[in-house]
Amino acid sequence: MAVVANGATVRVDSISMNETTRRTAYRWMTLTRTFDETMVAMWKQGRGIGGTFSERGHEAVSVGAGLALGPDDVVAPMHRDLGTYLLRGMAPERIFGNLLGREMGVSAGRDSNLHGLGDLDLNIIGFISHIPQAIPTALGAAMAFRYRDESRVAMTFVGDGGSCSGAFHESLNMAALYNAPFVLIIENNQYAYSTPLSQQMKVADIAGRLPGYGLSAVTVDGNDVEAVYDAAAKAVERARSGGGPSVIEARTMRMLGHAIHDGAEYVPEALLTEWQKRDPVLTFRARLIESGVPEADLAALDEQAAVEIAEAVRVAEAAPMPDPASVGQRVYA
């Protein structure tokens, strides 16, 4: 597997997906894509409440990285990591319930859209809007594992935008200093809202800066689920075996607007056309077929996803809103 470390392409030992894992990856990617498309359609139809974020184009990152974790590992995904939530076992109807402010939603109507999807029973730390708070939080989880000598790893995600913020630096410095079992995935999707990379940083090689902290840092093709998985699995293994923290910069593209209301007119058409050819779900699907997986198997997974998501929407839409009298509950533990 070719990865780019500190600016130069190097070869590293590959942790390749086996046949089962590849099928599993496809299952979660198609489920994620289906969820996302359904959600976007619902919001366009006025069936949503508030805003929401599409993760279209990020499926290889959220699924590839998420699959690299063991069940006891903790993950703190961000607003475009729907795939990670799903593959960790968060039921789609609970997420739709959250989007629709339902009592049965993950946050019981307290938090909105893809924020607040936290469930420690699933070892998921929910997202907080303030960027990039997830980094120090997940690092703290890693520090807890180190403190208790547990063989667990904490992973989190940040955008290109979030990488410009102070906690990114503070936390990566401490992650290296404390040799924490910590993995950070930088989801470099070339935009922070309307702001392109060129208006965020002078040198657009984020991972390239990080070896200077004493961290392992690589750049991978964020549209290739196998590449992301490979890098993430190695990083997780390194962290678990005491080798310390790693950062993986996954280069990808945000294929829709920042949030549901955003038409993203500021993104050059050509850029989208080019990246559309590299669609992570479609390219992976084609690769699987090429490698001998029967298309019917994949179609069955697509069909299953459609059924699951339709049912999840039905359940969530039918579910009751929280009782207004409960508004003051849950503030304190």
Binding site: G105, G109, R110, I128, G161, S165, M321, P324, V327, V331
Partner: protein, 341 residues
Amino acid sequence: MSDNFGFANTVDRASDDRTLTYLEAITEALFVEMDRDENVLVMGEDVGGEFGGAFKATKGLAAKFGDRRVINTPIAELSFTGMANGMALMGLRPVVEMQFADFISSAFDSIVQFAATSHYRGIGKVPWVIRAPSDGGIRSGPFHSQNPEAWFVHTPGLKVVAPSTPADAKGLLAAAIRDDNPVIYFEAKPLYRSIKGLVPGGGYVSEIGKAAIRRPGSDVTVIAYGTQVHTTLEAAHLVADDGIDVEVLDLRTLKPLDTSAILETATKTGKVIIVHAANRMVGVGAEVAALIAEEAFESLDAPIVRIGGLDTPVPFSPPLEDAYRPTAAKIEAAIRKLADY
């Protein structure tokens, strides 16, 4: 809402008054002030180019004034606000947009430690404005609905304004830009496109530190600011049929408070309710209530009532958010109770 929110009572209508939305009034203030003073510039996330900000308040500025004066920043509130401190010390007048008021906490040190103290410590003047799109009720959840003004009203050295009308949206922004001190300008997102009003053309200023009576009345006073001025006017309207005559005072500036206007209305009616969407506990309403309880005690005919957000994060789900926020119905009930006291 009657009579252009009382605006017609306090300002001469210039011949070029136009009816603008609250949001249009903000944008107009930016155009006018940038035109008037080359030192004025706009900065923040996504404010530049064609895009013009998450709420489009800065749309068109880059086309007219160029990228030099309309600066897109990375996500780095602490340091781009810190940069504004340095720019302001050097004589510029940066208008910093927080994408949502909620993210102002990320810039906290640059505001409450540096900007707020610098003049006192002899460092120099820090004439910036932070525009903070605040308030909820629009189903935006705990991180896009906050009203964090109390943190800053408590902090010495800042000024804080919170317009409730298009005229003030323009006038207070212009005044904030011309003020030689750091001013936090809380603009109410729910009002952006929901209200319109007459706005004077050209370089128009609303004085910082002056409250305004939006509805004169004799039975009960309700003191509010921002969106809640409108909720209050609605409640006042609902009780008027029953002969309860409510005076509505719009604070407009939260720091410095217009203490004489507050004490005057409290003395006049002897019954006061204070309303804001921010958490009631140690909110601006607590200060107003305490002020009245100390300085207008003898005139009081009833307990001082506060209606505010609950002591919880702002919940997302509609029934929860409605339970959380002041509403016209809640204000109405409080007015009736107090009128009967």
